[in-house]
Symmetry: C2
Subunit: 479 residues, 2 copies
């Protein structure tokens, strides 16, 4: 390609010779400036992909913390010491990024953004002009707003420094007891992590069952697993205050009584960090997260948003939702990076696939649960079947519970939940591909899956559940 004809935004990536980037003058003049705010997962993905697609870009990524490009999802395994070193959570170091030409600046915070002038002003006054801005500001933990929630020994778990802090605190303060407030999947993973770290754990839950996304019949396995591993459960409990304890460091006051522990983790959810986006006047979605289109563009043409701070299109409910998960952030970052780097790409959306491990259980779900299906205007019918999934290769009982949900009006397959020692994630992934494609429950009932006796039965549990659900849906008008 003739360099004289090259223009900013050209879809054909222009690869500079290595020596070229160091020359001043016209080369520098042509460079499009990309500023990325946030260095967790989505930001670094954007930076890496944009740089790969268009090495001529001048990319600056700022992060207010000290770590960038880390995987947040394995943090419970770091705290449980399955992963020894926090460095293992880091996908790409700042040095690695700098080698790739990305200017990474940690400990740097954006003060405000002037969209008209296309300049980010940093805390301290420095100005960063941009041609393209990427918001990857993530989420912040929801705090209950009770007295004492800021005491030493009370933690939330969102970013890598939180994980490092919790692990250090448990070790240095020799914590023997912990309270986890919240029984979502992070709370559950942290039960196992604390257990691994030798800490006696109590879960305090506002609702009656942990992980309410899963059917109560499946949830019973979660409860059993917690009890089997000496995790105490306090259900239907509202927290009121955190005080200094008597026998332990801290005391949690609840409407069900007082309970003491050396460390308290608040895991009651997260909110998108949209302060900057709001000030810039960017459109937010109904969920409160930054509204984006399929290219990850916000309402302003020069601004992209990726990861936990923005929404994603849900292919089943056909609404824009806010589901902050690391794999989604990675994908959105790559899509934004491709587009910024001149390769037209869309992020085709999500189906709500999710999994976590709790001791010996695989716990997975995808699509909509019944509440969400109703909210979207569907007519959910569901069933729940139990079966042995690996008849030969694993000795003993390997029961898997699988719940399927479909729309009675159309037969559209809407969602699935699975729990068992083996095969839950695998089946949820297969069903996620089915949801992605908008299959009907009739098609799910006859899906062609790889059958071999060591791995499954001729009728897999997926088929059995779907066939069974089909029968529930035959509501022909009387003749």
């Amino acid at each position: 390609m003739d360099i004289a004809r090259w223009k900013s935004g050209d879809e054909q990536a222009f690869v500079f010779p290595q020596s070229c980037g160091r020359r001043k003058g016209w080369v520098k003049y042509m460079k499009r400036r990309v500023v990325i705010i946030g260095g967790g997962a989505g930001g670094p993905s954007t930076a890496a992909e944009a740089g790969r697609r268009d090495p001529s870009l001048a990319i600056t990524m700022i992060e207010k913390g000290e770590y960038i490009s880390y995987a947040a999802c394995p943090m419970p395994y770091y705290i449980g010491d399955v992963i020894k070193d926090e460095k293992k959570l880091i996908a790409r170091t700042p040095e690695k990024f700098r080698e790739g030409g990305v200017d990474v600046r940690t400990g740097v915070e954006a003060e405000n953004v002037d969209l008209a002038a296309q300049v980010v002003t940093l805390v301290g006054g420095e100005a960063l002009p941009f041609d393209v801005l990427v918001l990857a500001t993530g989420t912040r933990p929801i705090l209950p707003g009770i007295p004492g929630e800021d005491r030493e020994g009370v933690f939330t778990l969102k970013q890598l420094p939180d994980a490092v802090g919790i692990k250090q605190f448990i070790r240095e303060s020799r914590c023997r007891t912990a309270i986890i407030v919240g029984a979502g999947f992070i709370g559950m993973e942290m039960c196992e992590a604390f257990r691994e770290a030798g800490v006696e754990t109590t879960v305090v839950n506002r609702g009656s069952m942990p992980v309410p996304r899963w059917d109560p019949e499946l949830g019973q396995l979660v409860v059993k697993s917690l009890l089997d591993h000496q995790i105490r459960m306090m259900a239907d409990t509202t927290i009121q205050a955190i005080e200094k304890g008597e026998t332990c460091r801290l005391r949690l006051i609840t409407d069900q009584g007082k309970i003491e522990a050396d460390v308290i983790l608040l895991a009651i959810g997260v909110r998108p960090s949209v302060g900057l986006a709001g000030e810039m006047g960017l459109a937010l979605g109904k969920t409160g997260a930054v509204a984006v289109d399929f290219s990850q563009k916000t309402s302003h043409p020069a601004v992209y948003a990726v990861g936990d701070c923005c929404e994603a299109y849900h292919r089943v409910s056909r609404r824009w939702v806010h589901i902050p998960l690391g794999d989604i952030a990675n994908k959105q970052g790559r899509v934004a990076g491709c587009n910024i780097g001149g390769f037209p790409t869309i992020f085709p959306g999500i189906v709500g696939a999710q999994a976590f491990k709790l001791f010996d259980l695989e716990i997975a779900a995808t699509g909509l649960d019944e509440r969400e299906a109703l909210a979207a205007g569907f007519h959910p019918v569901s069933n729940l079947v139990w079966g042995d999934v690996v008849p030969l290769s694993v000795p003993g009982t390997t029961r898997l519970g699988l719940k399927l949900i479909a729309d009675e009006a159309t037969g559209l397959f809407l969602g699935a939940q699975a729990i068992g020692p083996h095969g839950a994630v695998s089946r949820i992934n297969t069903l996620s591909a089915a949801l992605w494609s908008g299959l009907s429950i009739d098609e799910v009932a006859y899906l062609d899956l790889a059958y071999s006796p060591p791995f499954s039965r001729a009728w897999d549990l997926i088929h059995i559940a779907a066939q069974d659900l089909m029968k529930k849906m035959v509501r022909r008008p009387p003749r």
Copy 2:
């Protein structure tokens, strides 16, 4: 429903009171007569489903052997003595069928069928009139046509009596050495079975690599696994005759020399059993198997065909194919049974999903391989990636090889192959759902899968392979 208005073929299933069926006269007169020829897998599925859907049917199932309703796929595990008792392979006994009102007759063979008169004549002369006929005649093993292939100790493995015969022969004749002719998936499963039974095994293969459906790079793992388990391989070898042996019972003569063994298994493939169908003048497909439609109906409106004797629609090649597998037979049987019982149902086809276990390896594939893709007129491009699939939960190395194939012209995803100690089947099943739905490789590259560190990485190997393949396919015209 008013019984006086009921007519044969009414879609509304009419449930007779239990006592009713024993009365003579008008009740018997109304019954539609269904005759099913073949009792392996598809026939019993048809019988069970038709009877469930319409208990008023008079169903007769004839089987020339002594066993009905058995699972053929686990037979290697029965021979390897992982499954001790052949009764465990039987899904439903004749007694159970008879309790359900199905007249099961074993040791009975059909001599011919008069389609005009709608009568099956049995060997011995008895006539079975029918309203609906179902062919479930299965396949028969291909014999190489060499001298001595009928010697004692030379076996094929297709039906349950074969498996019982092999197991008995190995035990009673104290076999120490075996030859398996053919290195398809049955040959591979039998390597493991003979090994489990303590028999030294040699595989004689006409081609250079076992299981040619899998890419040679993946096939190397199969070869390594065989060698690691002391299975000898003779590649590029043509068999010529079987003689009486000197040190062992039998001697196999090949173009690569002579080899002796106590038992020889011929596993070189199967052909559909279509003798009866041909005599009846039913249309056969290009594959030589019975041609059927989506309702499992043959070219004659009163005759259905199910299972290994008939074709199935391949959703990727969009051709009718003959892939004799137990899970397909079960599904086709259920579809035929639904239709016969008055519940309109279609068999939506297959995508070629297949798996087998070889010692510690999961070996799975789906869709088309490159040869099949070319034959269907696609423009296959492919890639093969290796990755760790379970970073946390399983100690040690768990490498998985995954090959993806797509059409360069359209981006249509065409097929996949996977081999590894863990996760091959699970990924092939997810990709089977993607093939089922006709997804493009771009969509596969962004599929929403349940991510959690104990089970996968944020970018699963599926994503990595598909993203990589996408890059190979960017062939834009020059500007």
